[in-house]
């Protein structure tokens, strides 16, 4: 993966069980593999409570949405959760269109999201 891609992905470990991931810019067929890799890395290391901050995600396509659903499922299977934070208007529109707005829990801030992981924070 090139530096260009990874500069749009930022990971912050809150503790062993919780991490916050920021995706900025455009999440598309090209950038999604690197994003998936980051989430997979976290989960491989046992972190299943993941906050995905989408405040600066200016574009998201269906392949990126599908990737998030995949990560959501894996987190859930491992008694964790993937929560979204402050999606941009664009992302919100796509979540509604695909009805994934009913699947993901969505919070206003990273702290809100972190506080909601049951007993793990």
């Amino acid at each position: 993966m090139t530096g260009r891609i990874n500069k749009d992905i930022n990971v912050r470990k809150v503790n062993d069980k919780i991490a916050v991931v920021n995706f900025s810019g455009e999440m598309d067929l090209y950038s999604t593999p690197a994003a998936k890799e980051k989430l997979t890395e976290l989960m491989d290391a046992g972190t299943f409570n993941i906050v995905v901050n989408m405040k600066h995600t200016m574009y998201i396509d269906s392949t990126a949405l599908g990737m998030l659903v995949g990560a959501f499922k894996r987190a859930r299977e491992n008694n964790g959760e993937l929560r979204l934070v402050s999606p941009s208007d664009r992302v919100q529109k796509l979540l509604e269109l695909t009805r994934l707005v009913n699947v993901f829990n969505i919070d206003k801030t990273e702290d809100d999201a972190i506080s909601k992981f049951n007993g793990e924070g």
Binding site: Y59, D61, S62, T63, L65, V69, R76, R99, V103
Partner: protein, 148 residues
């Protein structure tokens, strides 16, 4: 009628170029920002499909995607064409089934998104000609007759 043509490599890296070109034309046509983004999205999804299902699965001579954009009297029309192996399109694409959280689908949203965001979508596909996804967005014009 103004016509634009764009040829890009069938490579995920360059779908963004198609999105930007379509956005630029849509902007010049006078669509508002939200509509420009909708058009950009539809073009992105169609190009993704052309790469993933069209060119990705066929022989060697399908290494590019063609966009044909025309500004018509009443609409902006964008066709995304690949020379892949084609498929049999459905009449309409539904939202994914999210009733079972343990079995959420991770794909199958592209054509539904395109159909939702554009005013008219016609898919022509064959094993010999490849696939064309023709999408129209109507220009806002003042209604001349009618009472709505």
């Amino acid at each position: 009628m103004s016509i634009f043509e764009l040829k890009i490599p069938a490579d995920p890296k360059y779908v963004m170029v198609a999105r930007m070109t379509a956005s630029a034309v849509a902007g010049r046509v006078g669509f508002d920002l939200g509509t420009i983004d909708d058009i950009k999205q539809a073009v992105g999804e169609a190009c993704n499909n052309a790469i993933r299902h069209g060119c990705g699965t066929c022989g060697n001579d399908c290494t590019e995607i063609l966009l044909h954009i025309s500004i018509q009297e009443d609409a902006l029309e964008i066709t995304v064409h690949d020379r892949g192996e084609g498929f049999t399109p459905l009449d309409s694409y539904k939202e994914i089934d999210i009733s079972d959280y343990n079995d959420l689908p991770e794909s199958g949203m592209g054509l539904m998104i395109i159909q939702s965001l554009m005013d008219e979508v016609v898919i022509s596909s064959s094993a010999t000609e490849g696939t064309s996804v023709c999408m129209k967005k109507m220009l806002i014009t003042t209604t001349i007759s009618g009472t709505e």
